[in-house]
């Protein structure tokens, strides 16, 4: 019997089937309903924005890996695809195609690869990409169109802007807000399809329900306190995209269940504060980014109760 061939290694000797790339593929799948809804509402041009964003994200990632002399196999973890897709979904439907190229460059190179690649970043790459674009190209990034307006897009404002700045447009119904037939970023308008994807991720145990639930609930409760319409607040803007797909990013959110609750509540609080007191009508991006920055602090202060840690 061929003894020399025996492999000696330490336990465990079996592993769960699910690895990082399978998880990322699940996230991509869960975003497909909202993505299709976005293309349906805002036209085929949005599809080009999405494709350019994904392709450029993957290319930036590949370039960074080459420069860092790392194996290109890392591309197979699909995290760059997720970043590209997520960033595209936060963009207005008619942005010029160089916008996603710049955005993904900031997301992948400056937010992720500079800190050592997947797992090393402390801010959500897609959100940093969007935040960068928003401050650098404010006009392009706030040019909106009406949904389902065939050949010639009609420019308009988002429901949040209409509400906040009291613009001369009529506010959409709850139903239009819920299915996404309102103006806004490509993938953020349809609460319904984002919810379907989000519930799927919770069911697959990929994201923790605590973050979206505490995030959405804290926005609702605070809305009531500040005499805002809580349903309108959660259905408009990027709340659902943020709640299920941005605030749940593993890398940049707390490890512990309790920490995640704090994260969700904090992000909800900041989102609404920015919406009410900020000069810009939306607060999801910066609300979550600030909490990303606070995550190391939350993780240091919140420790689970260890088994057997009892006073005897």
């Amino acid at each position: 019997m061929e003894e020399k061939e025996l492999i000696v290694s330490s336990s465990p000797h079996i592993f769960a089937d699910e690895d990082v790339s399978k998880v990322m593929l699940n996230v991509i799948m869960s975003l497909i309903p909202a993505t299709i809804a976005g293309i349906y509402f805002f036209g085929i041009y949005s599809l080009f924005v999405i494709l350019v964003s994904i392709v450029s994200a993957v290319m930036w990632e590949g370039l960074a890996l080459l420069i860092r002399r790392k194996s290109l196999n890392s591309l197979l973890d699909f995290s760059a695809v997720v970043t590209g897709l997520l960033l595209a979904l936060t963009l207005p439907p008619r942005v010029p195609l160089w916008i996603p190229v710049i955005g993904t460059g900031v997301a992948i190179i400056l937010t992720k690869q500079i800190f050592g690649g997947l797992g090393g970043n402390f801010l959500n790459p897609a959100l940093v990409g969007r935040a960068f674009l928003l401050t650098s190209y404010p006009v392009i990034m706030t040019s909106w169109i009406n949904p389902l307006t065939s050949a010639t897009p009609v420019s308009t404002a988002t429901p949040l802007a209409i509400e906040k700045l009291k613009l001369p447009y009529s506010l959409p119904s709850y139903w239009d807000l819920f299915i996404g037939k309102v103006s806004g970023s490509i993938g953020e308008t349809s609460a319904l399809f984002l919810l379907i994807g989000g519930i799927w991720l919770i069911y697959k145990n990929i994201i923790d329900w605590r973050i979206p639930i505490s995030y959405i609930l804290s926005i609702m409760v605070l809305s009531l306190l500040f005499r805002k319409d809580p349903i309108f607040q959660i259905l408009s803007g990027g709340v659902f995209l943020g709640a299920f797909f941005m605030a749940t990013d593993w890398v940049t959110t707390p490890l512990t269940p309790k920490g995640r609750l704090i994260f969700g509540i904090g992000a909800g609080f900041l989102t609404l504060m920015i919406r009410i007191f900020g000069s810009y009508p939306e607060g999801v991006t910066y609300g979550i980014l600030v909490m990303n920055a606070l995550t190391p602090l939350i993780d240091r202060s919140i420790k689970p109760h260890k088994f057997g840690e009892v006073k005897k």
Partner: protein
Amino acid sequence: MGFLTFRGGVHPPTKKDLSKSSPITSIALPERFFIPTQQHTGAPAQPLVKVKDYVYKGQKIGDAQSFVTSPIHAPTSGFVRKIGFHPHPTGKPVLTIEIESDGKDEVFPDISPISWENLSPDEIRRKIREAGIVGLGGAAFPTHVKITPPPEKKIDVVILNGAECEPYLTIDYRLMLEKPELIIEGLQILMYVLGVKKGIIAIEDNKKDAGEILKKYLKKDMEIVVLKTKYPQGSEKQLIKAILGREVPSGGLPLDVGVIVNNVGTACAIAEHFKTGLPLISRGVTVTGEGIKEPKNLNVRIGTPVFKLIEECGGFSDVPGKVIFGGPMMGVTIYSLATPIVKGTSGVLVFPRSFIKNNDTLACVRCGRCLDVCPMNLIPTVIAEYSRLRKTELAEKEGALDCMECGSCSYICPSRRPLVQWIRMAKSEIFEKRRK
């Protein structure tokens, strides 16, 4: 029933179907036995025999003075051929007594059945020690030490562990089906020795049929508790938490909360000892895995080289990759097929080479799964990272010593990080420092 459990844990495929319907059979006496002097937690035994000595089956051939130690015995009659270093499941060669069988299997003349009912608890403890009985669940802690709690610790419950939560292993399940009276008698002896009025046999809900059979033999003050099938349900602390709601304090032992846990196999071995008078010279072993032609449950004499068991099961079905002593979650790989079965060997698991994937370790993506599954509520990724960076003190502060090395964190990690291996490294460094 079946809802009792603990927080955390994982659900690997159980793979028990490979061997669960195979009754325990004995294998032909091998020509040579290899009895390591180290087979349990504690001080190794000193050989009591010399090369060329004749030994009887059941004769004591090694012992030591220390309290935490257990003697070793000849598994059959024959001649001592060699006393030297031989491959051992721990990976380091160990001083081993090699016995060549004379084929007669002649029992040591002094050995005869003992009726325990007439003995005092201390006399029973002594008999159990002399019989070399150690925990058969895998850890192999000397049983007489376990059942001698310090007088200030009041014990009120004895739990027999029949959870067998490691995937692939079925020997405890088979024992419960085939030797229920012995297991119950073993429990009776333990309850008598410890003077307790409550005996519990714990099984997982995938072994309910074993529970039904045991039920028929239950004596006064005994009950069967069915737990959720989950790994590591069979861990002592998790078992006690699930059944009694008592939490063993960090750094403490079950006896700190009034409980003593023994494996069902150990109870069976105790009863068998009094019935036959023979010391612990054989044990049940599940031989299984995708790399074995016909998975079986075997009754094996201690000291039998593992290749004999593999032959008995029709050999390898494919090029072997790993041969594991124990289960897939906590078992150890061996490097030589001459390695003998020791008292703590509950299973021999063979994975074919084609079965073993080389997984690249990725960066931690902070998914938090290792926290979700850690039965001790630790933060494995943080402890592991401190250990990897050699920040041993920080690892200790985060609770490295509470880790029982069940491997759930490494099992679940989507980045395939060897978390438990790193934590183990921190633990051994902490112990190293303490010794200085």
